[in-house]
Symmetry: C3
Subunit: 205 residues, 3 copies
């Protein structure tokens, strides 16, 4: 499987898992089936829209390839019919959100490199792609964006994007690099949730 196909598959999986988080937040907010679909679409496609608009690839991939639209709709419908009890919702949102973050920070950085951005800019674009969908989901549904709550969130995304960027800068393009980078981001994000890791707070003078 070449690099472009890996990118495509990781992108679609990322859209799927982010779509699930949007739908789960919708279930939790007791939205109806259409509100849930809107949140699934916005959360699944938002990060990629921001990424593609910023690098100037318009219309974004999701508007040129119908498979990108089917994926979050299926994620939303599956969640609507199969979601678990309210008590377990937030844990599932965190789990799938970590997976989406990991996948999008990697695909965002890869795409930015393909478009000739410098390593630092590619890493930033990876982070923006990773956090974009979740920020839109949380702002639309009236939650404080997860990236601003007191947890390790942007850092693992920067790590995942950074691994991809450094590997590319060293001329190393094996297809397992993005997968390893995504796993590193995913693992650290989950550990941070499980262990309740917190970053330093500002001192209080």
């Amino acid at each position: 499987m070449d690099g472009s196909a890996v990118l495509h598959v990781l992108d679609l999986i990322g859209i799927f898992v982010f779509g699930i988080t949007g739908a789960l937040v919708g279930v939790r907010k007791k939205l109806d089936v259409f509100g849930i679909q809107v949140l699934a679409l916005v959360t699944g496609l938002g990060g990629g829209f921001i990424r593609d608009v910023l690098i100037g690839q318009t219309p974004p991939a999701a508007l040129r390839d119908w498979r990108y639209l089917v994926v979050p709709i299926v994620a939303g419908l599956l969640t609507f019919f199969l979601h678990p009890g309210i008590g377990r919702l937030e844990r599932l949102v965190n789990l799938f959100d970590a997976a989406g973050l990991a996948l999008f920070c990697v695909t965002g950085a890869l795409k930015a490199i393909d478009f000739g951005l410098s390593p630092i800019s590619a890493a930033l674009l990876g982070v923006l792609s990773g956090i974009g969908g979740g920020v839109l989901r949380d702002v639309l549904s009236g939650r404080v964006p997860v990236v601003l709550r007191s947890e390790i969130y942007a850092t693992p995304a920067l790590l995942g994007a950074g691994i991809v960027v450094v590997a590319a800068a060293l001329g190393y393009h094996a297809s397992w690099v993005p997968i390893a980078a995504a796993l590193a981001c995913f693992g650290i994000r989950l550990l941070a949730i499980r262990r309740g890791w917190n970053a330093p707070l500002p001192r209080n003078p």
Copy 2:
């Protein structure tokens, strides 16, 4: 009147009615005259900005043609001076918002077809154009976005955009098609508000 002129006129009317809803929400939130103008501009132009940025037509139409700027400013000033009592505000917001939704879902889909997007993508872009201005208005003024509240909202927009897309796919380009599509969306949205139609809610396991 050819298709492009119809598109232009419907677009300007849509900006006008969305501008009114932004200004009315500003009046309701007791904003001053400048805050009201900002909400009128953002609500009137927001959906079109999102549409034009996503299809890659930048600068957006509203930045290349000064008439697009005058329309929401006039809408805001008229609303500031002539708005009714607070009690009737929300009903008027709903009425004009339904009109703006109907017009933008149609013009968004038409423009996407002109730019060569596939039918499914054109329909999605129509829905995004239709709901974009209202979402920005509600997020900026601290309301839950209307598209997420428990009412039929995105569905009539999808219907309106869908009629336009299907007609175009069948090679049928009569100038009454977008008008009929907008009326269908407008009518169903108003009926949904009047009758209190609700979409299915997720079950509660």
Copy 3:
């Protein structure tokens, strides 16, 4: 120093002071060091991203030149370590926010003129660039956007952008024009805060 260099320097200073306001709001909301960095980046770069995407210059300047990324990160770190007591935070946010507004309304208008937009559109783009970063900061951190609160905010931005636009339309390109325009916007914004100037409110029928 030619016009392009003036634009560049004003842009970087604007990113720095907006970055400080984002970080100060983060300190006030008791975010951790990473949440504060995210707010500093979004607030510093947000207005420029909106400006560059709308005029079609993608990737935005901040993604093509690494200095644009270092500036808000430094602003965020300085604020994290050196911020004052909570009581004085809001006053400092207002001060730096006025400076950022003044600088961005001017650089936004200048850049729009360079890209061939009409005077009216260039003025609007200047206002959007000026208010964009602060709106993103306030929406993400759950505050009512400052542009909608009952104070003179969009008006001085329009004045600053207007001075630049009128001077350019008259063929006058001296490098002190943007600096004078930014000072005019800054001074009026500060006076409005100090004196508690308010714009007319809608009558209450």
